[in-house]
Symmetry: C5
Subunit: 156 residues, 5 copies
């Protein structure tokens, strides 16, 4: 079976997260095809994801965005996230949000590293959701993180 | 009658809340089956819950999550909660949100205790909702809490 | 005509607001029947209200809740309110939200008084909505409050 | 053609904004009929507006409210606004929100003046939307305000 | 093929952003027709955009708004943005939000420049979305901004 994976991303983001994510998926899934849809900003992502699912037949979508550091940017991120959840509920299809907030990193180099790593590690989640859901359940409640060190399970 | 109970949880959470909740339910319900769906983070829970209801026939769902301590984490929690309410309104089925905020506890040991206790006490609520709704009405307005001491009714 | 009035409340609240509200309604409406649905917390109220309307045939619902004092509690209240509005728009039926924020009162005694009074005064609103909408229009823009002294119309 | 204009307002507000708005509309529209629906508070307005449109056949609705000065009041206003937008999207009919925040004015006299003026100036907008949309386009981007002096176009 | 482009804007905004945006589109698209819909404020934009799509047959909509500097204005902007996303999900049509926050600029001259430039640069995005989506994908993750200097890709 060929999986069709939607890639929704923005020109606003300062790192190309889509390319490393697609490479990671290709390594792990023998038979895959990508549909890419680039929009200006994160608030355009919910519709992009919906169109990838409804018009391009995607089995799952990754939505990449990089909200800026201001209060307004945070507000935009919240609205975009709500929209991505609505898209999922309207299509019964997962849209994995991969957002990196610009102020999560100290400088551009760190921002780049964080974004690529988060993209790759969420690509792994996409493969699990499609093919190996038991891998996720095995890690339930273990403090997995994407882009940074895992927090790990709480010690008791 | 066999109840089918959905268990939606995340790899992000640092405590496995699903296992103690399922144990508690098994003690209280003679005939029960679980469907578990683990996703990466709390914003993936609304769709997971919807699929558990619509595709796995669950009678009720528990959604376990552990939002982190930052402002962005709080924002994610709000969006996830809104999504869980939408799922309920679209399916006419209860989804009991069991969220533990990482900053509710002072250290990891306390976090673990709080999370397990909240999970178990919400499992009790699930059983009441399915089989003994009068038990909930008996406690209406009495300041019941999950995971911590009950606040109790306001004294007057 | 017998009105069926839905009563949705929580075990989390520290005051039983439902009982005084029902008493008040019984005094004012000769022919009334109540359907009560108690859930754990305020985020469970939107579905409870929807089920009371769709499955129990309620003509109107009162939704009682008591959000706690923390930031997270305020956030939960907002999400619950949004859900109650969605329920109304999906059913074309009023759901009167009766929320008392725990930090509205200085101590438990005051909290109890405030909650009971607000419940009773909203019960009056319910009767007006069902039977005497002109009573509400007569008071439009006059600064009516529930649970505390009316603010009154702005003097000019 | 007789326009039917819905008037949704609250007993909570401290100024009767509906009456001056209706007077203004009557001056400008030769043939008009009003349907008034008064509810307790602003969170009851979305359904009131929807019922005015769906059951009373209103061509447009004005929704008057006066949120209080506290954080919780601001939160309620946001939820109410979101509900009013949902009502519009579900009915394809405009609902003009006329909210005056109590803390926009220094004293009650100023509050009264501001509220009446905003109501009247939004009544003018309602007439334009129904009959002279070109009047609005002529003023696009010119910094029009309701209730206070126009900000005017940005000078450059 | 003639594209029909919806232009939704407000009388509240202090800069006419629609005119420079339409000029830019006309330069780039040989065959285009505009439908303009001006409303009082940003919370009226979601329905305006929906009507432009459903009743005027627009292929895409630009929604121009200029939120003021206060907390309430920011809240209104968030609600309006959420509404614009809902419009998109209900119509499967892009609505490009072009909001300029009044406090993004130091004075009126700068505000005017910023608003016009953002409008023009989003007009370019509209043309890309309609005709050259590959131009957007070529710029994915490169830190494009509208109205100000591009942030550029993160250096690493």
């Amino acid at each position: 079976m060929t999986y069709i994976i939607g890639i929704a991303d923005t020109t606003f983001a300062r790192v190309d997260m889509a390319t490393p994510a697609m490479r990671e998926i290709e390594k792990r899934l023998p038979d895959v095809r990508f549909e890419r849809y680039t929009v200006p900003g994160i608030k355009d992502l919910p519709l992009a994801a919906k169109l990838l699912i409804e018009e391009k037949g995607c089995d799952i979508v990754m939505a990449f965005g990089m909200p800026g550091p201001t209060e307004i940017d945070k507000q935009c991120a919240m609205v975009a996230s709500m929209g991505l959840i609505l898209t999922q509920l309207l299509t019964n299809t997962h849209v994995i949000e991969v957002f990196v907030h610009e102020d999560e990193a100290e400088d551009e180099r760190e921002l780049h590293e964080l974004a690529v790593r988060r993209a790759v590690e969420h690509a792994e989640n996409v493969v699990y959701l499609l093919q190996k859901p038991e891998e996720l359940s095995r890690r339930a409640g273990t403090g997995v993180r994407q882009g940074t060190e895992d927090a790990g399970p709480a010690r008791w």
